[in-house]
Amino acid sequence: MRARVPSLVLSRLLIALVTLVIVSFAVFFATTLLPGDTASILLGQAATPEAVAGLRTAMHLDEPALFRFLRWCLGLLRGDLGTSYANNMPVATLIAGRLVNTLKLAGLTALISVPLALTLGITAAMWRGSVYDRIVTIVTIGVISVPEFVVATSAVLLFAVYLKWLPALSFTNEIHSFYDLLRAYAMPVITLTFVVSAQMIRMGRAAVIETLNTPYVEMALLKGASRPRLVLKHALPNALGPIVNAMALSLSYLLGGVIIIETIFNYPGIAMLMVDAVSTRDLPLIQSCAMIFCLGYLVLITAADVIAILANPRLR
């Protein structure tokens, strides 16, 4: 009966592979379009032609980019992410720590924002047209229409500078207790929750309202079911598909989209890492980060589909 899920996951894996290849080539060609190379960038103002040439040879950047890219691809097949041009460290070690950080932040944010968004979206749908509903709708749009760096900076000023309740920076290396964890993550998580929730709330509300207009919900009403029961037991399960899909899309933002948050809270995540990589033309690093973002995105989308299928007996 569930035979469909594994087969779907399998087919998704193939698709994922194709997508990954597309992305890596796209990213590669994008990188080749960027002016300058690691050598000249590292030398910066000191980039006299001979100096650049010397460094280039020293860094083996003088062979064509395509070669280096393909060699990197081969390495990838052997599970080797290559070494960074900028500082000769293995990309794996550069990424590892920061990927964990990113995942932690994303995870915590998801933990807060998903239930929040669900509750708001569903309740809004439950009392659709009511004042509550209108408030939720307006507020959600209002919230997303404030640039995140304003939200973040205001939060820091209020909670860190004036009230001194929370640290202005998230020192991941100084987390020893759960309390530390809370303090370190409170503000980035709140800010990100602001950013990602709105879309989920809107989609959730819309999807639930859609299913509320179906005959089987009317049927349940005529069985004497209460409003909450109608929504939770009859509308929600059938609205789950689109909802999880919207969530997957919103959450995928938490991987690569949080540059600004990472900057403001000095949070060493993977988004900033890729920005660095781009600014130093660090091909292996750029590629690896891009792969991670793409993979994360695909995983989320696939997960959403699987959930949608499990939630819908017709598809099982």
Binding site: T19, G129, I141, V278, Y297, I301
Partner: protein
Amino acid sequence: MTKRATGLIGSRLGYRINLVGLIGFAVVLFWAVIALFAADLIPYSVGEIVDTDYFGPMHPGLWLGSDYLGRDMLSRILMGARYTVGISLAAVTIACVTGVVLGMAAAVVRGVVDSVLSRILDAMNSIPSKLFGLMVVAAVGSSIPVLILTLSAIYIPGAYRFSRSLAVNINTMEFMTVARIRGESLAYLIGAEILPNIIGPVLADLGLRFVFIVLLLSGLSFLGLGVQPPYADWGALVRENLGGLPFGAPAVIVPSIAIATLTISVNLLIDNLPRKIRDRSAP
């Protein structure tokens, strides 16, 4: 049809317009007009330093205070409207038109075209938007056309996904079969048969996308990309005056409010578009 809290206006026109939508429209119109006539409205030139103080408060002469260089904030916001509204509008239009057309085409044609398109756009979608913006601007520099194209490129996949999922359902309707065996062209199928049925949700989606584009625009300006100085879009204004936040300087508050009013009202407008009244015998 659901009962609406707000009253009815203009049912004489054969349309049912509701108050919220009207307010939204008014605000959008307001900004549009500002954007058009900004050049004639500004009291000072955008680059001119008129205040020896910085983050100056609101006072006669400098109605919205001064910015971090002591330039007149009112002038900068008025001009900023031109860029924020213009760029976002252009970008969202390009993004949605392209995305929706592709989406509908994919849904109608199905098969290889569909899967190839879906793969490519999925791939695009998986690259974080800000990074994409960074790379593009690093590669070809930052000019208004580039900005518009980048923003639209970033939001095409979303529009595609959305419209495709809608179109797939429409495509199963029998009137599509009828049109097909009539021998209709693809253009007619998507233009005349599908589009009218999905235009509503597509517009709503466009509204939200607009918000995101406005925000991404300001996000990009945080990363130092955007309109050429001395001009600046609202996001950039907020960004460059962020230092005034601790003092609640109008230089940072006002542009933030401007962004909010625009994005919110666009959505109110789209959520409450006038509906054609079917009931012909209406008074």
